[in-house]
Symmetry: C2
Subunit: 362 residues, 2 copies
């Protein structure tokens, strides 16, 4: 299969790298000849405009994707055209306005849920899509063989394909990704004018809730603008809940119930997020170890854990303020808790001196 | 120094365990005789009401702290009284209303910034306060020797003491802790009624931003109620920013600038959060490794890292949906990047096949 990639940024170049390594013949183009040549030098494919490619992948910035799709449908009358933008409805609508029905059958929108905080060809990775969801939007008119071409490409680079309706996709990503980005950015912005002594009280909770506020404003402005209505719907829901809590903080009769209800609803929402690998959330137990900041400490810790034969499911490092000591939380299956605790203590590691919590042994 | 602890929940019992291990004579009381005895059985001290303790620590639920402080000031006319509640102004005001000036000099509010998602004596740890900030609120009337008693206790259990004004404290924790808790809970609550296929698109960003929504609604309702005015101020600031973004999502002229400005302010706020150990954020480079979910994989990885002599500053595990493969991001000082990449490759680990990013080598 010959694949032509238009746009050699992070996603386009990563896709080129991945497909080239799996034997696909990949051609590349970009408005910036430098960027296209860089991608080619990295091994993402050959800079060329092919006569008759099987599939064309549009990986330009989101705000020009629709126009580039329309152009591609005309330029290559036999090719299947797909794109990798993170919004789907607005693009489909724009493409519909400028194409005839038969042409439209050759366009299949898709969205690999992958990215990095860095951008550009230079940040590309052949394995960027490995183990990530890749949403494909088809309908009853989509020719089966064209749909299979797009699915094959996604699977070739290791992604996990999900078939979704464009409206459903846009509404879902607004809720699980776009609105959380806005809220995290707004929450982080509240720190800008704080005295340093106040910011010094920040704990791991604030670090976690604002981590994605590090994202690129330019790219995210395009994403939010492209899914504006759906994002606004979720943000209005959030504002409604926020208004109720703000009102309740006047502490009138009934206030406590409103506040507690909001917090309990948060518990319920969290319980819906799938665990590792999309399975139902698994119950792991955590074992805490205190570590100092000396070179090699974490490496020694994990060497010892390796010797114990215990599989670590997840790791969290807690950063403390003002002291050169931290703690590491290790998630393990319940059956391994005792082996791990005893083994680490025997190796001289400092663990909390708590009595064993019966709930932690169930 | 004789220390009497009123309230043997997570904080009181943890403090008793820590102080007892450092040779303090600790007595305990709790409204629940079972809870007090459990704490004593765990080694937190002796269940007793002493005649003349040096320091009394009030560690009851936040909504009764003020009354218990007032009672304690009367019961023990020579003792220094402190508390560990996470709000300080409302408690100080309530205590002031019910005590004379001279009595008030014996009360010094404090707030160890430590906790767990679990609660009760059974979840206590002698090292809970290790390397955590412990805020102490004194004023010009506070007798120096009493202040030193509270500071000594905090330092005995390994905490890092910060002297702050109660109003400043409450305003700061509202911004870095209480309001983020409300916002994270509200954000997680938006998932309650979502179809499962939509929640399946959740990535690490959503997991991070909503992690603290797992917290206990009962305890947090008391905390928010006790700092209601300050929390409402921050939530109103957040609502103002949210309103601006919602309006901008109508996509009128000027909208893009508003949206981009919000995201950029988020970048600025994040940059203010101190790094590891309260230092200025350090620049580490990240090295990504792909790992499968087989038992022992992470342990083998860290054994290999240990053999390379590379110090790992931080670790992030990325969970993928639907595929039994994940990636681990290792933060290391720039000087160790090459050693780590080369050493891991030689040991057969799969790393992204990207060209080296010149920015990552600076």
């Amino acid at each position: 299969m010959n694949v032509h990639i238009v746009g050699t940024g992070l996603l386009g170049t990563s896709l080129g790298l991945g497909l080239s390594r799996h034997g696909y013949r990949v051609t590349l183009e970009d408005l910036s000849p430098t960027s296209a040549q860089l991608a080619a030098d990295m091994g993402a494919g050959e800079v060329a405009r092919p006569e008759d490619p099987d599939v064309v992948v549009i990986a330009t910035p989101p705000d020009v994707v629709a126009q580039v799709i329309v152009d591609a449908l005309r330029t290559w009358p036999n090719a299947t055209i797909t794109d990798v933008a993170s919004v789907k409805t607005a693009i489909l609508d724009a493409v519909k306005q400028h194409t005839r029905d038969r042409e439209l059958d050759r366009y299949i929108g898709s969205h690999p849920m992958a990215g990095r905080e860095k951008s550009g060809a230079i940040a590309a990775r052949a394995d960027l899509f490995m183990a990530r969801p890749w949403v494909v939007c088809s309908d009853e008119d989509t020719p089966q063989e064209r749909l299979e071409q797009v699915v094959t490409i996604a699977q070739a680079v290791g992604a996990s394909v999900m078939h979704l309706d464009p409206l459903f996709h846009d509404s879902a990503v607004a809720r699980v990704s776009h609105a959380p980005q806005v809220v995290a950015s707004i929450m982080a912005a509240q720190l800008v004018d704080m005295p340093s002594e106040g910011v010094a009280l920040a704990g791991q909770g604030l670090r976690d809730t604002t981590r994605i506020a590090d994202s690129d404003p330019g790219l995210w402005t395009q994403i939010l603008a492209g899914n504006a209505a759906e994002v606004a719907t979720v943000l209005r829901d959030i504002r409604g809940d926020l208004d109720r809590v703000i009102d309740a903080l006047d502490m009138r009769p009934g206030s406590l119930r409103t506040i507690a209800g909001s917090l309990a609803a948060g518990n319920d929402g969290r319980a819906r997020i799938p665990g590792k690998h999309g399975l139902a959330p698994a119950t792991y137990e955590t074992v805490t170890v205190y570590v100092d900041d000396a070179p090699g400490t974490l490496s020694r810790l994990f060497t010892d854990i390796g010797d114990l034969g215990v599989n670590i499911e997840d790791i969290r490092i807690d950063h403390a303020t003002g002291v050169k000591l931290g703690s590491v939380e290790l998630s393990v299956v319940p059956a391994h808790v005792q082996v791990l605790i005893q083994g680490l203590r025997e190796n001289g590691w400092r663990l909390p001196e708590q009595a064993l919590d019966p709930k932690e042994e169930k």
